[in-house]
């Protein structure tokens, strides 16, 4: 019983994954404050561990080609336990969209408009997201190619523009931090930017590709996102050096340093606007997925009606998520990775193993 039968093509799906990962450039402050100048090594490890998550999700997708996450849970665990798993996912998706919305609100509040109350920023942003989500999966992912292209273009351009500030021996004291720090860094990056692609499990029925090729597109999108993230971190460390640990938005600081000519500097508002369009894609996708999960669980026949209700909940939830930025940073780098690990790694793994044991896969049933 498909709620939104919009169809997205394979390349759109690939670029949606890439754009989804690229959009989390704002969150790099978490693990950079932990592994100061070795963050780029940590991000490569994180990328590799992200591949493991990716393998689990593609396996799930291959076993249940036209079933989204909620249906898989019901199929594998039976209606009651499946519902519990799906409720956990509702909580996870809502918190994810609230977290990203809070990040966006803080970023816009700090970068562009210091005096506007964040509630105004959040509500006007969510109105546009609601309008896109109401349109369905096709509208949300239509511009994924456009957004990915602009982001990669911006990353490459800023890399060259910041070249005269780059000083390569900022990387130098490599591997001289305690091993625990690297473990924590890898843990953070593999769960927060890379693990979040679990949301794409909800969208498998809408993707129009032969099921054996889905793995290829998923990994390709994941690779584009991962590489651009690593490039961003490399650029930030190269430019800022040891000052990087001071800032809440390090990549935003490097963008402030870029100076086109002796007079034309201070370009950060331009980059902030581009980051907003990126966050638009990510938040509207998460918003869409949380609406889809709720309507899938309660078997509503169209997801359009609850869009505004869920939107309001997300806005209010994001305002009182953390009391202060310090608590956000402290929790974000210490405890949240473990919590995300449960949703992104443990639950899908359990579903996969149980599915394998009970030899359930919807491809056999052929519906």
């Amino acid at each position: 019983m498909k709620i939104d039968n919009g169809k997205i093509s394979a390349s759109q799906f690939m670029f949606a994954v890439a754009c989804f990962i690229q959009a989390s450039t704002l969150l790099t402050a978490f693990f950079i404050s932990v592994t100061k100048q070795d963050s780029w090594i940590v991000s490569i490890f994180g990328f590799l561990i992200g591949m493991i998550f990716l393998w689990i999700y593609t396996a799930l997708m291959k076993n249940f080609p036209n079933k989204n996450l909620v249906e898989i849970n019901d199929l594998v665990f039976g209606p009651v336990i499946g519902k519990i798993f799906s409720f956990i996912y509702i909580y996870f998706f809502l918190t994810l969209s609230a977290l990203n919305l809070k990040d966006m609100g803080d970023f816009v509040g700090i970068a562009i408009m210091p005096d506007t109350p964040t509630i105004v920023i959040l509500v006007s942003f969510m109105c546009i997201c609601a309008w896109a989500v109401r349109g369905g999966i096709e509208i949300v992912t239509r511009y994924s190619l456009f957004f990915t292209f602009t982001t990669s273009f911006i990353i490459i351009v800023t890399f060259f523009l910041a070249f005269n500030d780059i000083d390569f021996n900022n990387f130098l004291p490599i591997f001289n931090q305690p091993f625990m720090k690297y473990l924590q860094g890898t843990h953070i990056i593999s769960t927060i930017p890379f693990g979040e692609i679990v949301v794409f499990l909800m969208v498998t029925p809408n993707i129009e590709i032969p099921k054996n090729k889905i793995g290829k597109y998923f990994t390709l999108g994941f690779a584009i996102g991962g590489i651009s993230l690593i490039l961003i971190i490399l650029r930030d460390i190269a430019v800022l050096g040891n000052v990087i640990t001071l800032f809440t938005f390090p990549s935003f600081e490097t963008l402030r340093m870029i100076r086109l000519s002796s007079t034309l500097g201070r370009m950060e508002v331009l980059f902030a606007v581009i980051l907003i369009t990126l966050m638009f894609f990510k938040i509207s996708f998460l918003y869409y997925v949380s609406v889809l999960v709720i309507s899938q669980i309660f078997k509503l026949n169209s997801h359009k009606n609850i869009v505004i209700g869920v939107g309001i909940i997300i806005i209010i939830y994001s305002t009182n998520l953390y009391y202060s930025m310090i608590q956000h940073m402290e929790h974000g780098s210490n405890i949240t990775p473990f919590q995300w690990l449960i949703y992104e790694f443990l639950l899908p793994l359990i579903t996969l193993t149980v599915a394998k044991i009970r030899k359930i896969s919807s491809s056999e049933e052929g519906n």
């Binding site: 210091p114 800022l240 002796s262």
Partner: protein, 392 residues
């Protein structure tokens, strides 16, 4: 009108009534005063500072009189004494009808006495405050910051913009003569290195005054302890690298030569030698001869040999002279501490506390090889012997 359209209008209503309550951040151009320079001087009692802000005066050209932008100095200076910078700015904001706009601040100047007292206390606001930018220049004024900011420049609208343009062009040759806020903060975070800030002096004759960079101030533990004059600055910049072309004149007993050294390839590697840590520097550069006086009737390759030898000696002397100066000031202005930390992080941890003892004993092993590559239009000059066949 199917229900789908009705939903769109619901969303648009939501947007409109949120947007119309907007314009918190809206400050029109004529309600802000644009700060171009910020100076910090020592006030009488210790925990207070004299804050001076150089603001550009905007005179409306439209309307009643249509003339060029007002002649003479189009800026005015505001001062306040307060314990913190931002509280000082708030005090100033009460005096003028417009809100103070710091984004276009070109330069941060510390007075000499304040530098002596220490500047780390006031650095925090430059990083934390949203309007302060990391690429503003940092300077130390010879006298007080106020003199620099109140000086009226001949060509430029106000002295801050003039200074920033001068630093920008100056740093083309001598990279070291410009420190951005970010360089200063990163050097301050490295405990062992002592940051270096250019010194600006103002000599005002007949009304208009000319500001010029007259050396580098050395700060140890963010206190001003000494300065390098322009001679030593050249010695310092040989080591710091990234300088494009530096004029260099040599006096030898045979004659005087004016050369310039360019495309310098520099490697300074910290090593742990037999008797403790030392720095090995190998320096490759091309010498281009610009002017030769004297060298009566000598052969060209003889002259080149002499010139090369004296270039090497002079270079070595300058480098060592500046290095020794910094050693007896016990201020690691080259950042060798971080070099050691970067190369040998493990065993540098132990050395870090004793760095103040180690640095004066640090010695430097320099090997310099220069080739004379360009002699301008003429291969030999009037003084040299005619180039007959046998000595070609």
């Amino acid at each position: 009108m199917n229900k789908y359209n009705r939903r769109i209008y619901l969303i648009i209503i939501l947007i409109i009534n949120f947007i119309l309550t907007g314009c918190w951040d809206n400050n029109e151009l004529d309600t802000i005063s644009i700060v171009t320079g910020l100076g910090i001087d020592a006030a009488e009692n210790d925990d207070e500072i004299d804050l001076t802000l150089q603001v550009s005066k905007i005179k409306g050209t439209t309307g009643y009189e249509k003339g060029a932008v007002g002649q003479g100095s189009s800026f005015f200076v505001m001062e306040a004494t307060d314990s913190g910078i931002l509280s000082g700015i708030d005090k100033l904001e009460k005096q003028i009808p417009r809100s103070i706009f710091l984004h276009h601040n070109q330069v941060i100047i510390f007075g000499k006495e304040q530098a002596k007292k220490g500047i780390k206390k006031y650095m925090d606001v430059f990083i934390r405050e949203h309007q302060m930018r990391m690429e503003t220049w940092v300077l130390i004024s010879d006298s007080t910051a106020k003199d620099i900011l109140t000086a009226t420049m001949e060509q430029e609208e106000n002295s801050a913009i003039g200074l920033s343009k001068m630093i920008y062009s100056e740093s083309r040759d001598y990279e070291v003569l410009s420190t951005k806020l970010i360089d200063l903060t990163s050097k301050m975070m490295e405990k062992t290195t002592s940051p270096v800030i250019p010194i600006v002096t103002v000599n005002s004759e007949n009304g208009n005054s000319e500001a010029e960079i007259s050396g580098l101030a050395i700060l140890k533990e963010d206190k001003y302890i000494g300065e390098l004059d322009l001679e030593r600055v050249r010695g310092y910049s040989w080591i710091m690298g990234n300088c494009r072309e530096i004029p260099f004149n040599i006096k030898t007993e045979h004659g005087y030569a004016d050369t310039s050294i360019s495309n310098i390839k520099l490697k300074n590697k910290p090593k742990f030698g037999a008797d403790g840590p030392f720095i090995s520097i190998d320096f490759k550069g091309d010498v281009s001869i610009r002017e030769i006086q004297g060298f009566e009737d000598m052969k060209t390759n003889e002259i080149f040999a002499i010139l090369q030898r004296s270039c090497v000696e002079q270079l070595k002397k300058e480098i060592l002279d500046c290095f020794n100066y910094s050693k007896n000031l016990n201020a690691d202005i080259y950042g060798f501490g971080t070099e050691f930390y970067r190369k040998y992080p493990k065993n540098f941890e132990k050395l870090r506390e004793y760095w103040d003892e180690i640095y004066p004993e640090l010695d430097m092993e320099i090997d310099i090889n220069l080739e004379i590559t360009d002699t301008g239009k003429v291969l030999n000059s009037l003084y040299m012997e005619e180039k007959t066949d046998e000595n070609r």
